[in-house]
Amino acid sequence: MTLQVLAVDDSRTMRDMVRLTLTNAGIATHLADDGVHALEVLDGMPTPDAIITDINMPRMDGFGLIDAVRARTDCRAIPILVLTTESADDMKTRARQAGATGWIVKPFDPQKLVKALKMVAGTSNG
């Protein structure tokens, strides 16, 4: 079964890159511009196997999105990867505290992103 991933970033360039990376890896990708938009998209798609989200976004940031997702009984166990330009340990602690499953440092290595996804969401053929 094809993995379904929701990718959230306010930068079009980043969204394009994530989509290209995931599509090349055979992963179905849904996109959203910010946290508020992501929650809307979430309502209109099958529960994704994972969410990849940026932190700094207008309207609702990545932490707000994680909170909202973890508060929903139908979505709370979705693995969430945080895409961030900060790689300091402080960042990992904050992501963990916010409820993120894992983190990827931008600019991301496409292979690493796909592997991290497999790690938290299983393989596409799993």
């Binding site: 360039t13 849904h30 309207r59 139908d74 969430i80 991290a116 790690m119 938290v120 596409s124």
Partner: protein
């Protein structure tokens, strides 16, 4: 397939332009004291997104600078710093540098490091390098990524995406025993142990045993609690670091013990609980503690790109509008085709008329609707090419900052009507003339701060840049509150340069217009601002080439206003088809105030060979078009001719006399500029419905030139020179 990375890169630079615009908007809000709590965040995010994208394309200089800028913005965001005028000025400069770097990165031009240095130094003074989050600075390494992924199945499952280095692939396989005890948090954070085990299984041969001793009787079982732990024996050529990397995301929320059993063949671990060999991993068989949660329903929906608009109740940010990026070439092709459609429609009308059908047939009704539709299509197509002048105005804001800094005057730029839309080509070709006009306003228009104070004005000069739609045209004005044009000085310079005769008796408006003569420059010493070998004559030619006009108004002590009036589109116009001396000509409809068939009463003699037209108790000058264009000698009597009343730029009126009005229609503009250069009084040509070519007049230019001809001959020569130049 086109290189997807190249496409994303091109799209990144477009996004950069949008982000830079948001950055400028934010700074402007702060400058006007209109910022809200989110303004700094918007600015921060703009710089942050530029940095993020630039990193992905390996644009090191852009990343470095954006990072420095971002660090300072972050201080502001965290309220560890207060914004003041000098900081705002620095942010504007940073925005300029960022914009330069983006442009240079796009064009592949190396950046001149030295030019950035003062800004970097200023940023460093705010946040000394040692206070900066060095971790972050070091960690954020730009990296040009390639998205040519190998086949997913062939991919070795190490987490760093790179071949393991020291202690990496080792020909001798080792055996490790891993004890993995998840804590409750591991599950609540969305981790799934079975995926970790399956990732581990891809590193070597694994034997997994699950310890279910902790599982309580059913009545005591909390379905959301984790009771299981695992022991994994793995034989692999990878080292221990590779193994622990699999558990990177669960570090701290599980107990993980990795012990080396040696290089010998592993003995199968069969002592604890139910053995579970994972090869290949099968989540259906593996214990899954997320049973309470519905699994994702399989969906037939393919990859969807979500672009749904944001909810309307959020006022903080406008809902993103769905947009499509289209190559300009395709739009232009559409514009051309619509032009052809307009001509075709005109020809069809003419054929119907020629066929002698009565006016109330269904053919006429249908034709009428066709005409309306054509017009709607044409307007819609023009809208595609229209862009707000905002980007142009933002560039001017930079020009003002740089020019005022260079020359040491305090200047404030006020803009209005930034959302006024104009054809894209017009915007692009307006940049140079407008830049020159703005520089002129700073350099010549405004007085020095001291002079202003002495004159009882605020030390800070103001330049207003406005755009507005006015009767089918776009009017852009540059207004300064300086000292106005020094007319005696202008006249004396013009005389000294031989541009006007010594004894010329010129009106204020005529003196002001001397500025547009080629070679005229009032700067006694050529400053490095406006004295770049470009005069107002070049500005005027550039505006005229766009089918526009420029005029000047000045009040001593109060300031000077330059007005540029431009057509909305360069492709089509509404025109009045007129006949004069058996020639068919076109007059742009928006230039005509009213028309009237002349009777003897309307014409009054004014001097021996001059007539004026009397309209409702006022007199206007008369221009015989046939004579003016050299088609025939002036008529003896103009009774029965038609007068087109035209307003000139300075608000006065003039009457253009033609033989008859034939029609009123939309025509496609065919430029003559490329083949014939600029022809005074003629804007362009067009093709009429019967295939005939007709010239499109520029009535204002025609009148302006004609007025000069009634002046002393020396002036006329200069004006002719101006036209040729």
């Amino acid at each position: 397939m086109a290189d997807p990375m190249a496409e994303i890169k091109a799209s990144f630079f477009i996004e950069c332009d949008e982000l830079l615009e948001a950055l400028q908007d934010g700074l402007q809000l702060i400058e006007n004291g209109e910022q809200d709590s989110d303004t700094v965040n918007v600015i921060f995010r703009a710089v942050h997104s530029i940095k993020g994208g630039a990193g992905a394309f390996g644009l090191t200089q852009l990343v470095d600078f954006a990072h420095r800028f971002e660090t300072v913005l972050d201080e502001l965001r965290a309220d560890r710093m207060q914004i003041d005028q000098s900081l705002l000025a620095l942010f504007y400069q940073c925005g300029d540098v960022l914009s330069d770097l983006v442009r240079e990165s796009r064009d592949g031009v190396a950046h001149d490091i030295a030019s950035v240095q003062p800004v970097l130094t200023a940023l460093d003074q705010l946040i000394p390098a040692d206070e900066e989050d060095t971790d972050d600075a070091v960690d954020f390494q730009p990296m040009a990524v390639s998205l040519d992924l190998p086949d997913l199945d062939d991919m070795p499952l190490t987490t760093d995406g790179l071949p393991p280095l020291a202690g990496g692939p080792d020909d001798t396989a080792k055996t490790y025993l891993i004890r993995f005890v998840p804590q409750q948090a591991l599950y609540t954070l969305g981790n799934e142990p079975v995926f970790l085990l399956s990732a581990l299984s891809e590193l070597g041969t694994v034997q997994v045993s699950c310890d279910d001793n902790a599982v309580p009787p059913l009545e005591d079982l909390d379905p959301e609690a984790g009771y299981l732990c695992w022991e994994i024996q793995i034989q692999t050529t990878k080292d221990e670091a590779c193994l622990s990397e699999v558990f990177e995301f669960v570090e701290g929320i599980c107990t993980l013990e990795i012990t080396t059993l040696g290089t010998a063949q592993p003995t199968l671990c069969d002592s604890i609980g139910a053995d579970l060999a994972i090869s290949p991993p099968d989540p259906e068989v593996a214990p899954n503690l997320e049973l309470a949660l519905p699994s994702p329903a399989p969906s037939p929906s393919p990859v969807t790109q979500a672009t749904a608009p944001a909810p309307a109740n959020d006022t903080r940010r406008e809902a993103p509008r769905a947009t499509v990026r289209v190559e300009l070439e395709r739009v232009d092709r559409l514009v051309n085709l619509v032009g052809e459609l307009v001509i075709n429609q005109a020809m069809l009308s003419q054929s119907v008329d020629a066929a002698g059908l009565s006016a109330n047939t269904s053919v006429h009704t249908g034709l009428e609707e066709f005409l309306q539709l054509t017009r709607d299509i044409q307007e819609s197509v023009m809208l595609i090419r229209a862009q707000p002048v905002k980007s142009l105005f933002q560039r001017m804001s930079r020009i003002v900052r740089e020019a005022s800094r260079d020359i040491g005057k305090s200047v404030r730029l006020r803009t209005d009507g930034e959302n006024t839309e104009v054809d894209k080509t017009v915007i692009e070709r307006l940049a140079d003339p407008l830049t020159h006009m703005i520089r002129n306003a700073v350099d010549h228009g405004l007085e020095t701060d001291a002079d202003r104070v002495a004159a009882g004005k605020p030390a800070e000069g103001t330049i207003e840049l406005t755009a507005a739609h006015r009767s089918g045209r776009v009017v852009i004005e540059v207004r300064d509150d300086g000292n106005g044009i020094n007319r005696p000085k202008v006249q004396s310079i013009a005389i000294s340069k031989g541009l006007v005769p010594k004894d010329a008796d010129l009106t204020d408006s005529e003196i002001d217009n001397l500025l547009f003569l080629p070679g005229f420059s009032t700067a006694t010493e050529v400053s490095n601002l406006s004295g770049r070998g470009v005069g107002m004559d070049v500005v005027r030619s550039a505006i005229q080439a766009l089918g526009g006009r420029i005029s000047i108004a000045s009040t001593p002590g109060m300031g000077t206003t330059f007005s540029i009036s431009l057509p909305l589109t360069l492709a089509v116009l509404d025109g009045m088809v007129v006949r004069v001396a058996d020639q068919t000509l076109l007059v742009p409809l928006n230039a005509i105030l009213e028309t009237q068939t002349l009777s003897a009463n309307d014409i009054r003699a004014f001097g021996p060979e001059t007539n004026v037209i009397c309209i409702r108790d006022s007199f206007v000058a008369m221009l015989d078009l046939g004579a003016e264009l050299g088609y025939r000698a002036p008529l003896q009597s103009y009774v029965g001719c038609v007068m087109l009343l035209v307003a000139t730029e300075d608000g006065s009126k003039a009457a253009i006399i033609v033989d008859a009005i034939e029609d009123q229609r939309q025509v496609v503009i065919k430029g003559l500029q490329d083949s014939y250069g600029r022809i005074p009084g003629i804007a362009a040509a067009t093709i009429l419905g019967d295939g005939q070519i007709a010239l499109i007049l520029d009535p204002i230019d025609l009148i302006a030139n004609s007025e000069w001809r009634t002046r002393p001959p020396s002036l006329e020569q200069h004006e002719v020179g101006a036209c040729n130049g």
